[in-house]
Point group: C2
């Protein structure tokens, strides 16, 4: 969970129409948020554009102002969730100078995000089948930011030297699995306890 | 990656007919192996029983001696892959007394397994949608064995004290993501290098 993750921009996929006004942007986000709930609940195949506009409370024609197809809103949803995760972690770790402290704050923010977006796992996992490129972008953008953050922390002597790329994937794996334990496997362990154990492993694992 | 993972039996799902002879068992395994390749390549929806029997080189009627439906062969495939992973790790760590050494050998065996079974990720991830119970069993059986192994190692003073359940999920997460980096994200980093970095993090993370 890195404060740098939010700084790396994902390559842009062919977008639908980008809204030009704040109201347009709000409508677009409402449609994406509805897509998150509908596709999370029904799965990609059984979800329809009609379900999504109905959940969003907008006319079906409004959908086509912002998106072209169900495939396209799904791809955009996966990338948007990736941006949201990275933004959330970047905000939570902003101003924290010490990398290990930032790992703790980032892991906490990630697990809280996952609990607020319990369909994240289903949606991203389904992307492996529906839009493998979005799946790859989701993880690779995150990994690139994480790696850059670990490299900077190594330079600053805040963590031990090591292969930043493999470490980035390993640390992402810890966050991913602990989040899945919460929302897919329905653990009732408090986030603070999970973070304490996960952070203990991470901090000892990479401290100088 | 635990030497105890292989010892925990998954609860049995309603099975197809269990073969009574070695030849029958070989045919059943050939069908499961074909299902692994066909479903891995085509995905569950596009794979048919005809594709699977054709890939296995058996008559379609033979399928029904061992399995009842495509759903059932898929569920059995997910559980069989879980058994295979656990068995592979148990064999690789057999006789290794020190837990940290067993972690290293187990991680190596897991990554080698993943490279030999590159469709493992697609199949298990698709189970979240096709058969959520098989998905849960796959990870929970693994986690239960891992946890038991970590608890025993704590008792023996081979690792530091900690929450064995959260640690089990975190360590599973490391193996899972490093394996995915290899076969889904097509990293060309040698397994030995990935293991060296991953093990360094794990060993420092949980050593006494």
């Amino acid at each position: 969970m890195t404060k740098s993750a939010g700084e790396v921009k994902a390559p842009q996929k062919a977008p639908g129409n980008q809204p030009k006004t704040a109201r347009g942007e709000a409508t677009r986000k409402a449609i994406l948020s509805a897509a998150e709930r509908v596709i999370g609940a029904k799965g990609y195949n059984d979800a329809s554009i009609g379900h999504i506009t109905s959940e969003a409370g907008v006319a079906q024609g409004t959908f086509y102002i912002y998106f072209t197809t169900k495939e396209q809103v799904f791809s955009e949803l996966v990338l948007e969730m990736g941006r949201l995760v990275r933004h959330t972690i970047a905000e939570a770790t902003q101003g924290i100078e010490d990398r290990l402290e930032a790992e703790k704050a980032g892991l906490t923010a990630f697990l809280e995000f996952v609990c607020a977006h319990p369909d994240l796992y289903r949606i991203v996992q389904e992307a492996l089948f529906v839009d493998p490129q979005a799946y790859q972008e989701y993880y690779q953008t995150f990994a690139a930011g994480y790696r850059a953050g670990l490299e900077a922390a190594q330079e600053a002597g805040q963590i031990s030297k090591g292969d930043a790329e493999t470490r980035a994937w390993a640390l992402m794996g810890i966050g991913r699995t602990l989040g899945e334990q919460l929302v897919v496997f329905k653990s009732d362990k408090p986030i603070s306890e999970i973070v304490a154990s996960g952070y203990d492993l991470i901090a000892n694992g990479i401290k100088p």
